[in-house]
């Protein structure tokens, strides 16, 4: 283990994975620093789940390296798994059993000394403690998702890997989830989550956008938003002039110079692209390039 790798919770280098003719990961590179909420964004089929499974050591990449806590994710998977909590995309629990039985079973694999206490804590957090003994088949999709998250939190792992944790969860609880993620981050935990809900990107400390198994960006939401364009609309006496500029602060003087600041300029409005729009543009760009090359 190098000193350098100690400073990174996850390091992924040049990862490839194909399912037959379909390339799920296509030379993926990524680093995740500790104590962050890291969001992996991308449309359906962009390789998010494949990447998450590879980090958890339940998927064997065709080539490339993954290190988690400086350990090799495949070879040292037993050591890695003790320190990570995993919430799969589908709830993956036993329907005939109750939440308490499911959590005791999965938590049992880690031999937690305070299992009973932790069980109560995590079920109270997802607000399902009062339903702990009901069979899971009586639960809705969103409730199962909450039990699945509770299961991932059970051993208070250093790294939480959550595959679309808020899918199917109602807005109020989603808010609670995010507050909890932030609180965990403040306690030094790393949260690596995937989402296809763009409004959640804003709440991450850092986001990576994945498309066709390749990383497009890995930056803070603020930096990504800074890449967005601004639509400048000048309303003149004889009509409107609209221009899209990358950096409106330097573009504005040029635009205004053309007209002076005379009475013919009636109104100036600026509309900056939202983070969501910038990300959607990023995703659309490689798709457009691909179409052109065909």
């Amino acid at each position: 283990m190098t000193v350098d790798s100690l400073e990174k919770t996850i390091e992924i280098e040049d990862l490839y994975k194909s399912y037959g003719a379909i390339r799920a990961l296509n030379g993926t590179n990524l680093t995740v620093a500790p104590a962050q909420v890291f969001g992996l964004l991308g449309p359906n089929g962009s390789g998010k789940t494949t990447l998450i499974k590879a980090i958890c050591g339940i998927l064997k990449p065709d080539r490339g390296n993954i290190r988690v806590f400086g350990l090799e994710a495949g070879h040292d998977r037993y050591a890695v798994r003790k320190r990570l909590g995993y919430m799969p995309q589908t709830p993956s629990l036993y329907d005939d059993l109750s939440p308490a039985e499911n959590l005791r079973f999965f938590g049992g694999g880690f031999h937690l000394p305070d299992l009973q206490e932790r069980l109560r804590e995590v079920l109270e957090f997802v607000q399902l403690w009062n339903r702990r003994d009901d069979p899971l088949y009586t639960f809705s999709g969103g409730m199962r998702q909450r039990i699945s998250l509770a299961c991932a939190l059970l051993h208070d792992p250093e790294l939480l890997i959550l595959d679309e944790p808020t899918a199917g969860v109602d807005p109020a609880l989603r808010q609670d989830f995010w507050e909890h993620f932030t609180e965990l981050r403040n306690r030094g935990r790393t949260i690596f989550l995937s989402t296809n809900q763009m409004d959640e990107a804003q709440r991450c400390d850092r986001i990576a956008v994945v498309m066709g198994g390749k990383m497009l960006v890995n930056e803070t939401p603020g930096t990504i938003r800074g890449r967005g364009k601004t639509r400048v609309t000048l309303e003149l006496e004889d009509g409107q002039r609209i221009e899209e500029v990358a950096d409106y602060e330097s573009a504005l003087p040029r635009l205004l110079a053309e007209y002076g600041l005379g009475s013919q300029v009636k109104r100036i409005s600026l509309k900056r692209q939202s983070l969501e729009e910038v990300i959607l543009d990023l995703i659309a760009d490689p798709q457009a390039k691909e179409r052109q090359t065909r």
Binding site: K60, L84, T90, F105, F106, G109
Partner: protein, 249 residues
């Protein structure tokens, strides 16, 4: 390791008890099948003319029932674990391959044990045969067979991606077991090639032991060789099941 095996076995049995329909089916189906065998074969006049007593076959049918029920059950449930993602979750939550395979064996052997007891009681009641003197040998043999069946189920489940794909694997084991294990047709009467093939059928060894002990009144120790082969098959299947259980897609 023992603790995790135990946790898996308890979980399987808890699920089994929770699923009422499944519970009733797995206990009623053997009963119905034993009744079917009794009445169909007793109504065949040809068997009596040939001096065949169906009760001689009943214990062999009982072993066959346990074999195929345990095999099908464990294959389907393990495939379901893979499809729903609970198998992957077990791996991430610290369970190892050998613990999972042994946990399944322990869990299903308990279920198969209950089925065995039921089938044996039915056999002795329906066919009016006294199994008591040989009960230790019978239970030992049928349990060894149950372990082999679960091992086979776990092994076969590696080759199916979903529950539907399990179906073609069912007759592959069930039919040869019925035809060339020596239950219905004595192995010596089969063509030489099939006699050789029968060595690959785990049920053959259980039939050999049960026929010797229950029907020919031989001692269990006289059947030690087929018993060792049966147990050996179990060990080989367990080892291959835990080596082939895919942990990483």
């Amino acid at each position: 390791m023992i603790r995790n095996i135990n946790l898996i076995a308890i979980r399987i049995n808890r699920q089994f008890l929770r699923d009422r329909r499944f519970l009733v089916l797995s206990l009623v189906v053997p009963l119905l099948l034993m009744l079917l065998i009794k009445y169909v074969f007793e109504s065949l006049p040809g068997l009596a003319r040939l001096n065949v007593r169906i009760s001689d076959y009943s214990i062999l049918f009982a072993a066959y029932l346990v074999h195929f029920l345990a095999y099908i059950l464990s294959t389907i449930v393990l495939v379901r674990d893979r499809v729903t993602g609970t198998l992957a979750r077990m791996f991430v939550y610290g369970y190892r391959r050998r613990e999972i395979v042994l946990g399944y064996i322990a869990g299903y052997t308990t279920i198969a044990g209950v089925q065995t007891a039921l089938v044996l009681v039915l056999t002795s009641y329906l066919f009016d045969i006294n199994l008591a003197p040989d009960i230790a040998a019978i239970v030992l043999t049928v349990l060894a067979l149950a372990i082999v069946s679960v091992g086979l189920g776990v092994f076969i489940s590696n080759f199916a991606r979903n529950e539907g794909q399990v179906i073609p694997f069912i007759p592959m084991v069930v039919l040869p077991s019925a035809l060339i294990s020596g239950i219905a047709i004595p192995i010596d009467d089969l063509p030489t090639a099939l006699q050789w093939c029968s060595y690959l059928i785990p049920l053959r060894y259980a039939v050999e032991i049960l026929r010797g002990v229950v029907l020919q009144g031989e001692s269990f120790f006289g059947q030690l060789l087929p018993f060792i082969v049966l147990v050996g098959t179990g060990v080989v299947l367990l080892a291959s099941a835990s080596l082939t259980l895919r942990e990483r897609e």
